[in-house]
Amino acid sequence: MPAATGVTAPSLTTFTRSVRSKGISVESSTDNLISLLKRRQIRGSQACAIATAYLLRRVVESVKVTDVGRLIERVQQVGQRLVSAQPRELAIGNIVRRVLGVIREEAEEDREGETSGYSDAGTDSRPHTPRNQDVRSPEHSTILSRSFTSSPLRHGEKDEQVEAPGQWGPQRPPLLTSHASYAVTNTAPTVTSMFSLLSQPISNFPSPTTSPGSQSPGIHQSLSSQTLSNITAAKDLKAEVVEGIQEILEELTQADDQIAGYALEHIHSNEVILTHTSSVTVQKFLLKAATKRKFTVIHAEAYPNNHEATHAAAVGNVRGDFDEDIGAEKFQKALTAAGVTVVLIPDSAVFALMSRINKVILGTHVVLANGGLVAAAGAKAIAKAAKVHATPVVVLSGVYKLSPVYPFDMDSLMENGDPSKVIGYDDGGFVDKVKIENPLFDYVPVELVNLYITNLGGHAPSYLHCIIDDHYRPEDIDLDKVDVY
């Protein structure tokens, strides 16, 4: 359904407007969002994440109790309802978990203020407990993440290595800013954990690496809920949580630009890049690179669900109605206008052209805990072809798309779309005799991906679990049972 521009049809914009107005109760806002999600009037990871964050902010604001346990319970309640309304939009669950994490963290900080010794006992095994101490110079972190970033590509790309050193200098400032802005909420733990990886004894490490299921959240849960509910949070807890959510919201809107900030590290002159769908994240990334470099983009058109938007993206006037339709308005300049040579190919020609391609850049719907992707249909074919030709596959994804959910039941994560995009409904004979299917998503296993670029930087697939571990509390991973199992 195309983005609604008129007065009547509800959409993300009407929702965010209504959720802010005090006249509408939280309960009805929740129901409103649930029905919007069910009707797919809000769809796509970013839109869902933003809507969820707005709603949760409202929920937190409206909760009267100052008891942390209650607050957490309330957020969990709302979160569960949202998740079950649209279980395939994993970003909803991610945001709910993030908000829960913010609440717990604020509560812990408060408590640390009161009884400092006690907190250590509760969170001993977690690598980012000594959070307060780690105000380290961001430079360390950039260097670290940078070295990490380029490593997987090194063997594949020779010219990259040649060019790479030249890039470090000018690239540093944006990196710094992005980190600095992020450090307020979530980067700090990331960085810490990376350092703890290097500096702390190994014994600390294995517990977060194991799958979330095998982690023992039971102890944590009972401990934390018991202790948390005992604490009556300071008056400004709510304000702090709201601030935390506000930061998540900022992160959501900035993620694409932050990711684009890494573009020059990854795209080099005269490269041939293959991409797929009209993902705004990817488009911004390419555009950013195009400010400095000349390269060729081969665009697979993603028929039948996204080809129109893809075509539009190539020549301008983006209407992007598929995944990230939020930044669509801001995003106006076309690739061709930026001086990039764009070649549009049908999806079926991907393999034939793969031998000429230097790098595959994919957007994604969601990244799962094991590093596998749920991406637009066709992504798997592309990734497979790339594997055969040993072409590196780079996936761009905001951290908010990174889900701690494991793909145990693939079928329930995949969504089937409207078959009329394949064969028009007016073809009566066809409709009656042939079963037509139009899956929207592909599952791309982690083996086919070489590098993930998030708003925190580039990460190897094996490193993703660390980010997950830093962003989501283990006690929140089991947000709702249906979702995980």
């Binding site: 009707r39 409207d418 009329s420 409709v431 009656d432």
Partner: protein, 689 residues
């Protein structure tokens, strides 16, 4: 923003007008005023019948919510209480409902026309509104249509309505095979110029007759029969005024649309079309369409309106492997084979059963080695081991014994029980015996608690979607189940179809309705006659048909009076009083349609009585009614003694059913004959003297 609409002539100043002026209103006709879903609609209104385990009206309301409608009026006819109860329980009336207001309007209207006129009187509609029937399923984005409609309204106040039509190819499964609507459209102005319904069976013409004027006055015209008319109309308030001004309009398309188009020369009102080519829209207007739309929803054609979007509160469908939508707590045997189906919660299915392309409701218990193929099984149904069910509809709370065979197109009613090893032949329907006494062919040897009737009202055969646009409220409780031979073309006017063959059905239906309308309003018989005559001339109907319409309307009116149909506001009367009342008041109508007072053979009078006899055939207590009518017309001297006797002796009135119904009247005839003999003997005496 919608333009401020000119108020219809009757619209009064509304104090809340300012507040509502920019909201979009919608009217849902929850009653279709048709009988195509019989026998299910005897117990439940059509809009609450489940389609893929979700009541039909949910889809319609979902569609309206999608379109951003703010205020909804649900207009109920039969089973209004059930509809109201359902809606009050649903999410649509909760605080978080997307609608600012949702009102259930109960009425006793027996046609769309009455409903619309009633609506006009209620004065609820303040601006443009959507008129949809309560069985529409669509994922359509209405915005472009609304925008166009408003733009047209700004240009010309005469563009009163926009019909939203879905383009389909030839021979589509959701299209009815009975009658095909044909739209003649000016593609440039998107204006509908002419409308006709073509049927390929008898009763419908194979031709579309166009006014040659149309060809000369429009640069380009399209004649299209590939459009699904899903009855989504964007109307201006003026539409209601039109309905009120033309009190003989009954149905939405056949009379209203055609009427307005015909009067274009006089009033200049135009009706426009908006043809949709890429989204889903369909209307569940017959059992056949029920089958087709169910398949569409299962096949995700109506995406995002799919089973796994869980439209209703409390649903928890998830799409799993094999294209099976399952709710929580479904228990499948280990060797159960389920494909492309929907299964509601708390349903158990035993080992070795095969289910393909079917829907199974909640709380069903299906035994071992059962084969279900393309069937629709509603809630709480028990199917015991080894049964085979093919493309049938099995309503809630029924149970099927071991080893039963249910063939294509069978309809099993609410709460029916089939005993072990019974078989239900194709296209028959089974109801509970206690449903009421109906004296049809009972094959009760293969079902003990149930009775079987064979119906041609099945969704597979093309004849299923009867072309008749009946104007009755379906299944008012006094409606008895009819003998099957009348099922096909059942209308509330109960005219025997056999002698309709070459006749003008339109005339009958419309004339009857208009007379009935007059009767209910207590119009003078002169007024009714005038209208009737005008209508007769314009359609070139014979006097026989006029009489038939009069009789049908009278009988309907009488039974209304007896049963206290409150459309007329009158309470219940005894049959004698009712007959007397109607015939005294409107004797002129009959007198003016019988022309043989002085003739020797009273052909017209005989015909009149014959029609009465036929008409009472299927009415409750028909025999009594016939007696009262015969007596009354005789007493009032509308029909002469000779007429009565000639009718009595006519062989046509003695056969089969007809003979049975007149048994009671025999005493009256005997009385007449005796009186005559007395007279004669007196005369003879005189002669002797």
């Amino acid at each position: 923003m919608p333009p401020k609409n000119p108020k219809g002539a009757k619209a009064k100043q509304n104090p809340q007008e300012d507040q509502r002026e920019d909201s979009l209103q919608a009217v849902v006709l929850a009653d279709s005023f048709e009988t195509r879903f019989a026998p299910f609609t005897f117990d439940r209104p059509r809009c609450l019948l489940p389609l893929v385990n979700t009541p039909l009206i949910e889809y319609t309301l979902e569609f309206l919510a999608n379109a951003g409608v703010q205020e909804v009026f649900v207009y109920c006819g039969s089973h209004a209480d059930q509809v109201e109860e359902y809606i009050n329980d649903s999410k649509w009336t909760s605080k978080s409902s997307p609608f600012r207001a949702l009102k259930v309007l109960k009425s006793t209207a027996t046609s769309v026309g009455e409903a619309m006129r009633n609506l006009d009187n209620l004065d609820l509609i303040t601006g443009d509104f959507l008129l949809v029937s309560g069985d529409v399923i669509s994922n359509m984005n209405l915005e472009p249509a609304l925008v166009k409609h408003r733009a047209r309204r700004e240009k010309s106040k005469d563009a009163i309505m926009t019909m939203v039509l879905r383009e389909t190819g030839v021979g589509h499964r959701t299209k009815s095979k009975g009658s095909r609507p044909v739209f003649v459209i000016d593609p440039v102005a998107e204006r509908c110029l002419h409308y006709e319904e073509m049927g390929h069976r008898r009763g419908g013409s194979r031709y579309v007759s166009l006014d040659p004027e149309l060809l000369t006055s429009h640069g380009e015209i399209e004649v299209r029969d590939d459009l699904i008319d899903c009855r989504i109309d964007i109307c201006a308030v003026d539409v209601l005024a039109q309905w009120s001004d033309n009190f003989d309009f009954q149905s939405l398309r056949k009379s209203f649309l055609r009427g307005v188009l015909k009067d274009y020369e006089t009033y200049g009102k135009t009706i426009h079309t908006y043809v949709v080519t890429d989204q889903y829209a369909a209307r569940v207007k017959s059992l056949r369409a029920y089958d087709a739309v169910s398949k569409d929803v299962l096949g995700r054609w109506a995406y995002p309106i799919c089973p796994d979007s869980n439209l209703v509160r409390g649903q928890s469908y998830r799409l799993g492997a094999g294209k099976v939508y399952k709710e929580d707590r479904v228990m499948l045997g280990r060797t159960t084979d389920v494909k492309r189906s929907v299964i509601g919660s708390d349903t158990r299915i035993g080992d070795g059963s095969t289910i393909t392309g079917s829907t199974v409701g909640r709380g069903c218990n299906i035994g071992k080695n059962v084969t279900i193929d393309g069937a629709y099984i509603w809630d709480d149904v028990v199917v015991e081991d080894g049964s085979i069910i093919r493309q049938a509809i099995i309503a809630s709370r029924s149970s099927i014994g071991k080893g039963c065979k249910i063939e294509h197109g069978a309809l099993i009613m609410f709460g029916a029980h089939l005993t072990q090893d019974s078989s239900v032949s194709a296209n028959s329907w089974i109801t509970r015996d206690d449903n009421k006494d109906h004296n049809s062919n009972q094959d009760s040897d293969d079902s003990d608690a149930s009775s079987v009737g064979s119906s041609r009202l099945i969704y597979q055969s093309p004849s299923a979607s009867s072309s008749l646009s009946s104007i009755s409220t379906l299944a008012s409780s006094e409606d008895d189940l009819e003998p099957p031979r009348d099922m096909l073309r059942r209308s509330s006017f109960r005219s025997d179809p056999s002698d309709d063959a070459g006749e003008n059905r339109d005339f009958h239906v419309e004339a009857t309705a208009s007379i009935l309308d007059g009767l209910q309003k207590n119009d003078l018989s002169d007024t009714i006659m005038l209208e009737l005559n005008g209508y007769r001339m314009s359609t070139n109907a014979s006097q026989h048909e006029v009489r038939k319409a009069v009789v049908a309307a009278f009988m309907k009116r009488i039974s209304n009076l007896i049963c206290g149909d409150n459309a007329s506001g009158s309470g219940s009367m005894s049959m004698r009083e009712a007959v007397k009342e109607v015939f005294t008041r409107y004797r002129a109508l009959i007198e003016r349609t019988t022309f043989d007072k002085d003739a020797e053979g009273k052909v017209d009078q005989v015909d009149f009585l014959m029609l009465v006899q036929k008409e009472v055939l299927w009415r409750p207590n028909g025999d009594q009614l016939l007696l009262f009518v015969a007596k009354e017309v005789y007493d009032m001297d509308i029909i002469e003694e000779d007429g009565v006797l000639q009718w009595w002796d006519d062989p046509r009135s003695q056969e089969g059913e007809m003979g049975k119904v007149r048994e009671l009247t025999e005493q009256f005839i005997t009385f007449l004959k005796e009186a005559e003999e007395d007279e004669e003997s007196e005369e003879e005496d005189d002669d002797e003297d």
